[in-house]
Amino acid sequence: MATGADEAIIKVRDLVVGFGSHVVLDRLSLDVKAGEILGFVGASGSGKTVLMRTIIGLIPRRSGRIEVQGRDLQTATEEERQTIERRWGILFQQGALFSSLTVRENLQMPMREHLHLPQRLMDDIAHAKLAMVGLTPRDAEKMPAELSGGMTKRVALARALALDPEILFLDEPTSGLDPISAGDFDALIRTLQQTLGFTVFMVTHDLESLRSVCDRIAVLADGDIAAIGTLTDMMASGHPWVRSYFRGRRGKALQLGSASRD
């Protein structure tokens, strides 16, 4: 985990992704630095989730290079691929918990597949992870269908963290949560990131998360990165979409909020 602070852990170069005649990402380039929390915003349907799914290898690309920790998944051997996949955790928008397994079994699934550990240690680690995301041991034996929306997100986060990943991908982690729960979830991600020291790639629409959690923000528009930088850079940006996003009516509230905080 001891990588240089400014080293790019994910390097995307000239990425083109499309479906049929529709080109979603057009020669996109992006660096994610090790140890940062990168917030990723863009209009609905602009391809944020597509980019995330392409980086983790779920959607094929037309051209371009994606390097994760210096390795391109497309040219990597099966073994290298598994090593990379062990080092990232993914929180899907709907949680994607395995509905036929209990919460504890969901958490232990990646451990069982990748590590050979005694059952007792796996139980302890699962409980530790649950405690870290703010759930009690009593929740461990529940089925995913019995969980509320907020709990589902927390369990999914715990599962994404099961192998102590170095990169965490979050797809709209706070969508569908009330502002208080969303705030708690943001704080949780921040705390865990500081404790465990992973890199976060977060697709979000939540202006509040962008303000409170993210080190840098990237804006996706017209298939390419329109702007990248800190929140202050975004506020000063001249790009029309960025301007209306951060300085529109909802953005104004954000400005007021940050002004009163400072």
């Binding site: 036929s100 590590l115 240690l121 302890d124 409980h127």
Partner: protein, 377 residues
Amino acid sequence: MSGAQLTLHSRTDDRIELVAAGAWTAAQANALDAEVAGALRLVKRGSGVTLDVTDVSQLDTYGAWLLERLGRETRSHGGTCIVRGLSERFSGLVAAVHEVPDVVVASARPWSPLSAVARIGQSTEALAQNLANGLNLLGAVGRALVMAVMRPRTFRATSLVHHLDRVAWQAVPIILLITFLIGGIIAQQGFFHFRKFGADLYVVDMVGILVVREIGVLLVAIMVAGRSGSSYTAELGSMKMREEIDAIRTMGLDPVSVLILPRILALVIALPALTFLGVMAALYGGGLVAWLYGDMAPAIYAERLREAVTLTHFRVGMIKAPFMAMVIGIVACAEGLKVQGSAASLGQRTTSSVVKSIFLVIVLDGIFAIYFSAIGM
């Protein structure tokens, strides 16, 4: 990646000193687990542990938890654990793991002879519950039907036609093929064995009566249960999982009349039609085998069939079809509505829908056989 070790540095009567080094990470967790367990065996009641972690190069939750376990177990023996040389960058993680509450693992319930008896009771209760459920749904469908007759405009005719297309029209090719083959096989077996007695002509009686009275309708009902019953269960089940059925209810609509009545009506219309087609295909298959394998001219086959198969046989076969359709539809829809949130539950319900409806179709066929012989049909 370097290995990880936990070594014994020194040992006095009331204190042991351990040195942890290397990468205390998930990859090493299995080996470390054993080392920690070994070290814990050295810890005597009341003795303390000093742990030097200066040389730990990497630490993740797994490593931190193992260190934490060492501390917890030492304390539970009444000793103290002192950690030395913890690097600043690991302190947050160690503190986070330290806050994890102790878990009392609930032991599995012990097996007792009574539990087997209890399980019999539970399944009996479930059986009664199932029956009540089915009857309940039958009543609801009847009520929806009456409502539809009284107010025809509320009836979902489009849905009925759509389901008719799926369960009747699209099922025609496979039903024709299977029944054609079965008719041929029965005839072939008949000729093969009856020939020894010179009873070739009676093969036609056997094929005709067997197919028209029993095999035709039974075979088609089983095929429909497997093909359409299962799809009803899966559809309704996934609609239940995605809260679509709740949405229908909150719009002031009755899920039974919107979803279930058209489906069951489609089956009730489709099964007799399919049975008729199936019976014809089976008789045709039998005739073809009689001609090619049994050296019986088609004219003789047709003539013999006309004598052997009376209208009564045909009626007995056809009357059963709508009832069987009803059973398949009710079972399939009731199972669909029982689906819970998980994917496994959807699979279970679909399986149980097919198994139950085939079983009930055969039971129903038996009851009809007793009934028809009692009234002399």
